[in-house]
Structures are given as structure tokens and as C-alpha cells.
Symmetry: C2
């Protein structure tokens, strides 16, 4: 559907004086034309009467990317400077990664353009700096699409809950991991089989490590920690553990415990002695009647807990072209409605915590796979007792061979750092067939 | 904790030039000092370094309301003009109802103040007009607290999902009803007993009709329909049915059907032939593994379904002093961060739908209580067949007396308007001990 040229297209007033009510549109330049980019282009161009006008599309090898059906006035280019030196009001950065996207975003901001991005790596590394740079230029830097795609988690937490004092952010921030784990759960599949299924359906990349090992979710957790807990933390300070450690047997035991297994990202602020942050991305047990266990397939879910409003939950489809495009377009609307003017900073900038650790005091699940012989439980219990850790329950399903018997212990709440020391000692015992698996149990 | 006087308190620059970064605070006048008002006052005054300064508190019989511990510079008054003619930047209206609150809100806006309100009746009746009036004055009218208290549903839907085209809003918008229904469900109680429990705990008023009959939820549904579906509808166009129709026996049968019973508010936009809105507030069956069934006690939940991002869910505590105060404070922060300047209107104002009805084409649950005799099911089935309605299942638990036997029929998806005509005919049959109960079954 061809869009008629917008009236006043030659109007050269600066963005700050534009009025949505008078037919002047926000000129948008797209940098990156993959799945999300083409969704953004489609949605903008479908709404010919809307406040947005797509004027430039940049991609490498643009000739291969060109599609029919978009308005003919759009400038398709493989030269980034054609976008950055153009009269677009907003650059939408959708190429991802740190370089060259970071350079281009800074260049766009410095030349007085607003920027919208879905780039979680860039925002987790440089978000506050880019917000400051935009504010100095009197422009906006918006990144709602960088976390949980279509779920308005960033605006919900940063603005909708601004009046609370949040102390905990937790959730399911990676749809690929959630697909793999719920697939393992529903069809009693191995991790490898579920991963192949995810790859076949296009939910996982050929190299799935960024998703599976927690790197992707961690970048989003950093962004939410900044937006919600108002703490500045670097990705590398937050420990990640891979979901590839999870075997079908763990789902069998989790079911006995009325639990599900999910990749959980948590950041928890404690201000009782200085400002301490506990944060980690890892597979964990969650009660099967909890909201997190309810997130199926590629769904995402963000929980924010505050001093006054209690626990708020945002959930929905966090990835994919269309949901992520909705977040991009919503940010573009915000820029259109404010003529690109940035909001004032809240007083008291985000602070750097005094300490960051991956340790939580919660119940734990331990799965051992051993060559069976008398005295195994006794030696485990002895070591745990030495560290002051109490066993809650012991589960052993029938049917395992003596040469590789898998059984499970649940522990009462204990500090995971102390438990890890106990586990180092336990790992040196001679009956293990594989390294014991330790998962936290998060009850909300 | 006494708050030191803010620096530059005598600064007379207009609000639009204030800068959060330079110690000038947003002066706030509270109109109404009940549960929410005192929470708002507490949160503002706890944050002495924050961007807000509470300067006036209005209430009738203010002497009885005065509490210790708030800064001494606050002006306590029973004369509304002392707030409206003061130099406050924002009036926070927390008295509820249409009059005098509507007059006072208009007066505040006309005198160049922004307004924040939690008043769902006023916003459902006059929200768009008040937003327009505020915009004309270059000020903001914010009402995030009017729906679902602490849950940032209004900002999430109106701004976070602005880039989508929403066609359905549904959810649990009244915590009192949800408390009563989950109480009936968990403890097999009658409606009357559960209502008394809710009143004893302060969750329900002495006259509970506004909650129980759906009037309260309907006002919130009108606001969300405006914000999300961009349709203007009047409360009285939306049919409501009371949850007092639900008996303990309905929970017994619902459980057989793997369902829960909740007060569900739904608004659904259909644009295939003109713009039609189907909207209603009523008790309904929902699958027990659905997210709505998961909302327990006084929790609220809002689902928004869009063309691009699919279904998004927001949930949390929707009522109570502190959660509602969080929504008020978040709106005050937005005003502080934008120096009170309103965003531009989105192009294409909300439209008036061509038709509004309470009819949905969904499966239904029918519960009959009859004097048992042969041929009852045959006569019911004959009438339903005449209207083209198919029976899905028939359930009859043992143990009822012949003089008052309760049994249940579930129907395949049918239009509720057609079903209502069939039910009128059915109600004239002579075997009923009480009027048949008809509930829709909403599967998402």
C-alpha cells in the first residue's frame, strides 16, 4: 500500500517545534533491516495517517534486502552516513552488538537526533551514558525494546512504578531457554533434543551459547537493575550458569517436588549494611503453581517487588519481530508526543552498589549421580552438617542402575556461597559418576 | 521525621521552567486525606531529597484528620479554595465521586495546575475532556491510580503498547470481588459468608453493591477501553451482573470442569463491519490453569491483546492505600520530570463505536436447580436446539434432594444474545426452583 507524501514534507522546522496536530511527521531512519526492522517498517507504513514517516532504511548489501510494497520515497542505502547526516528526527538502531552500533548511536545523538534501540548489549554496557548524552543534546534515547520485546517492562518499572522503592527484579528474560525447558518438561526430552527442536523452529541460533548460557538474559537483567533498582552494575559482575546442565531426570525429580525448572534472572537489593546487590542468571526450581512456572514456550515474564505496591508482574511475548517492533514503535510515539524533548533526570542518579554477588539465601535442590554403595548419604550429610546446612528431604526414584544412580536432596534455606564450599568438598568424594548439580529453589 | 525546608522555596518561576536538577521541587496539594491520601503524604515526606514537596492537605473536618510526624510547614485546611488558589503546582484529588471533585479538578486545571487523580468515576465519565482541558492549559491530567491501583496498567497500555493495535482488554479489576470468589472457592463458603469475611477484613464496604454488582470494575473498564482500544463508551452502555448470583454449588461444578469462577471485565473491539464494541462485567468461568484463575485474594490482573505483540499481562495488588499511593506518586514524578508539560495527543482521537453490546460468542455454563421429574433435560434440549445452540456436556453430582436438584450444562460457543432469548423461554418452564444461572466461559 503506497503512502501518499505527507503534507509539509519540505518543512524544515526543527523537531522541537513540530506539532503532531498539524500534519508534520516524525522522520524515522531505520538502521538494520532484519526481522525486527522489516516489522517496524511494515507497521509504520501501514499507518499512513500516523505520526511517523519512514524516510531511510540502512543495511549492508541493501540491494539484497529491498522489498516491494513500501513507499517509493524511502531512501534505501548501504552508506550509514546517508542516514546519520540526513534530516531524520530519529535513528532506530537494530543491528545489535557494541561496534559499530555504539559509534553510530553516539554520532546520531551528537548530531541532534533522538535514538530508539533494541540493542540490549549496548544498553547494558552504556545505557546511562547514552541517556545522559541524549539529555545534554535535548533529545531522547529510548530502549524499551531492549528487554522482553513487546512487554512494556522498562516503562512499567521506570515510570509506572517510579513512586515505589523496588528491591527485587526477577523473571524469565530469555524466550529460547524457556522454550527449551518447557519442551523438556512437556515431552520428557533431553536438553540436546529440545535445543534441536528450538533451532528447527527458528527460536535458537546455530550457536545457541548466548541464550543457553545466560549471556542474553544477563544483559537484560543489567538494564532492569538500572531502571528499577537504580543500581549500576556491569554484566561481568553477574554470574551466569548454563541451562545445558539440566537433564531429563531433573524434571522427573522437580515434578515430585511440585516444581518446574526455568532459567531465572534475579537481582535483589539489600540496604541493611551498605548497598549490596545479589544477582544471577541460572536454571532454578520454581513451584509449579507460581506465575513463573506459568510462562510457557517463548513467553517472558518480569516481576518487580517494591516496598509499597508489593509484587507486580508483567508478562507476554518477549521476542520475535512483531512484539519487538511494537516496543520500538511505542518508543517512537513517545518521541513524537514529546517532540523529542527528554524528561528531567530523577534526582539521585543510579548508584554503584558496595558489593555484587551471586549468592542467595534460599532452599536448594542437589542432584547426585553416583555409583551406589552403602554410606553415601551419611558422608554427604556429614559434610553438609559441618557447614551448618540442613537437609529438608531425600528423594530416590526406583529404576536406576547401581552404576549410575541419580537421587535428589533438598536443603533448607542456606547461603549459596556456603553451600558452594560444601559442594567443593563433596565433589572430591569418590562415588560421583557426574558432578553434583545444585539449583536454587525460588519460591516467588 | 521532619523535612528541612526546600531550598529556593520562595522561587516564583512558573512550573514550566523548573528544573529538578536545581533543587526546585514540585509543590503538591492533597485533596482528601483518607487511606490513600495518608499513604501519599507518608511516601512524599519520607523522601526529603525527592522532587516533591507536600505543601497543602485538604479534608473536611481537618482537625480530626491531623496526624503527627509530617513537616510543620504543611498547611492543613478544610477550605478548598486555600488549595485551589495557592501556588501548588499539582492538585492530587483523592475524594472520589463526581461532585464536588469534578468541579474542583476543573477549577485546578483552569488555574494552571496539573492534576493527579485516583477517581475512577470521574475519569470514566470525563477523562478525555479533562485531558483536553489540561492540554489546552499546557498542563497534565494523570489518572494512573484510577485503575488497578499499583499496577501500571494505564501507562503500560497507553504508552508501552501504543505501537500495537489492541483489540481486547480483559481482566480482574475489582479486588473485593476477587477476594470473595477466591474465598468461596478455597473454603467452600456461601457468598454471604465470604462477603462478611471481606467486610470484617476491611476489603468490602458496609454497602458492598458497587463492588459486588460490578459498578466499580465497569468504571475501570471504561477507562482502559478509552486508553487501550481508543474507544469512547459510557459506563451505562456496559452491562454488569452481580457476583451475588454465584452459589457454593457453582464452585463444585466449576471444579469438575477444571475451571475457576472470577468477576471478569472484558472489552472487545471488532472492526470487520463498522466499529463494534462488546463489553461486560460479570462472573464467568475461566480455566483453572489460566492466568486469571491465578489471581488470588485482592489481586488485580489486566490482559491486553494486540495485533502485533499478542497478549500482554499486568498483575499485582490493585487496591489499598500503599499500592494506590505508588500510582499517584509515579504520576507526580512524571509531572516533575516533564515540568508539567503535556504530551501531544496521538493523531486520531478516540472514536465512538457504532454499536456497544454485552454479547460474546463463547461457550457457556448453565446451572439449573429443579424439582426433579422425567423429561427435564429433553425439554431444555428441545428449546436450545430451536435456537441452534449445541450442548457440550451435562454434569450432575449425586446427593441433591429431588425437590431441589442442581445440575449443569455446558454449551458450545454461541452468541449470548441468542442464548438469552432461549433462556427466557426456558425460565417459563415449570420445574425451576430458582432462576437458571448462565455464565460465559472465557478461555483466555
Amino acid at each position: 500500500m503506497a503512502k501518499p507524501r505527507a503534507p509539509k514534507k519540505t518543512n524544515k522546522r526543527p523537531a522541537a517545534k513540530k506539532s503532531l496536530g498539524h500534519g508534520t511527521k516524525l522522520k524515522v531512519g531505520l538502521v538494520g533491516f532484519g526481522t525486527v526492522g522489516s516489522s517496524v517498517a511494515k507497521i509504520i507504513c501501514q499507518d499512513a495517517d500516523g505520526p511517523l514517516q519512514l524516510t531511510h532504511i540502512f543495511n549492508r548489501n541493501i540491494e539484497r534486502k529491498k522489498i516491494d510494497g513500501l513507499p517509493t520515497h524511502i531512501r534505501w542505502t548501504s552508506k550509514i552516513h546517508e542516514v546519520l547526516s540526513s534530516d531524520v528526527d530519529v535513528v532506530v538502531e537494530l543491528i545489535g552488538g557494541i561496534d559499530p552500533s555504539g559509534r553510530w548511536v553516539r554520532q546520531a545523538l551528537r548530531s541532534g537526533k533522538s535514538v530508539v534501540t533494541a540493542n540490549k548489549l549496548l544498553v547494558s554496557e552504556s545505557g546511562p551514558e547514552l541517556v545522559d548524552l541524549a539529555r545534554k543534546m535535548g533529545k531522547r534515547f529510548e530502549f524499551g525494546a531492549s528487554v522482553a520485546g513487546g512487554i512494556p517492562a522498562v516503562i512499567g518499572i521506570q515510570e509506572g512504578l517510579a513512586g515505589d522503592r523496588l528491591h527485587r527484579i526477577a523473571g524469565i528474560l530469555n524466550g529460547t531457554c524457556n522454550f527449551i525447558l518447557t519442551e523438556m518438561e512437556a515431552h520428557e526430552r533431553s536438553f540436546e533434543t529440545a535445543l534441536k527442536e528450538a533451532q528447527a523452529r527458528g527460536y535458537a541460533e546455530a550457536d545457541p551459547s548466548s541464550d543457553v548460557d545466560g549471556i542474553d538474559a544477563r544483559a537484560k537483567l543489567v538494564i532492569l537493575t538500572q531502571a528499577g533498582l537504580r543500581l549500576r552494575v556491569r554484566s561481568e559482575q553477574i554470574p551466569c550458569r548454563s541451562i545445558s546442565l539440566i537433564a531429563a531426570v531433573d524434571f522427573m525429580y522437580a515434578r515430585e517436588l511440585k516444581c518446574a525448572i526455568r532459567q531465572i534472572s534475579v537481582a535483589q537489593k539489600n540496604t541493611s549494611q551498605g548497598v549490596r546487590l545479589a544477582a544471577a542468571v541460572q536454571p532454578a526450581l520454581v513451584p509449579e503453581d507460581s506465575l513463573v512456572a506459568h510462562a510457557h514456550g517463548s513467553e517472558n515474564l518480569v516481576m518487580a517487588t517494591g516496598e509499597f505496591a508489593g509484587r507486580m508482574v508483567f508478562s507476554g511475548y518477549g521476542a520475535g519481530g512483531d512484539p519487538t517492533a511494537v516496543a520500538v514503535i511505542s518508543d517512537l510515539y513517545t518521541i513524537a508526543r514529546t517532540a523529542g524533548a527528554p524528561p528531567e533526570a530523577l534526582p539521585g542518579a543510579a548508584e554503584v552498589p558496595d558489593s555484587v554477588s551471586g549468592d542467595f539465601t534460599v532452599p536448594h535442590y542437589l542432584r547426585f549421580t553416583v555409583r551406589d554403595r552403602p554410606g553415601i548419604v551419611a558422608s554427604l550429610a556429614t559434610i553438609l552438617a559441618k557447614y551448618g546446612i540442613s537437609i529438608d528431604a531425600l528423594l530416590q526414584k526406583p529404576g536406576f542402575p547401581h552404576s549410575a544412580l541419580s537421587f535428589v536432596m533438598t536443603l533448607e534455606a542456606c547461603d549459596s556461597a556456603v553451600l558452594n564450599r560444601a559442594l567443593e568438598e563433596i565433589a572430591r568424594l569418590d562415588f560421583h559418576v557426574e558432578r553434583p548439580l545444585c539449583l536454587p529453589i525460588f519460591v516467588d
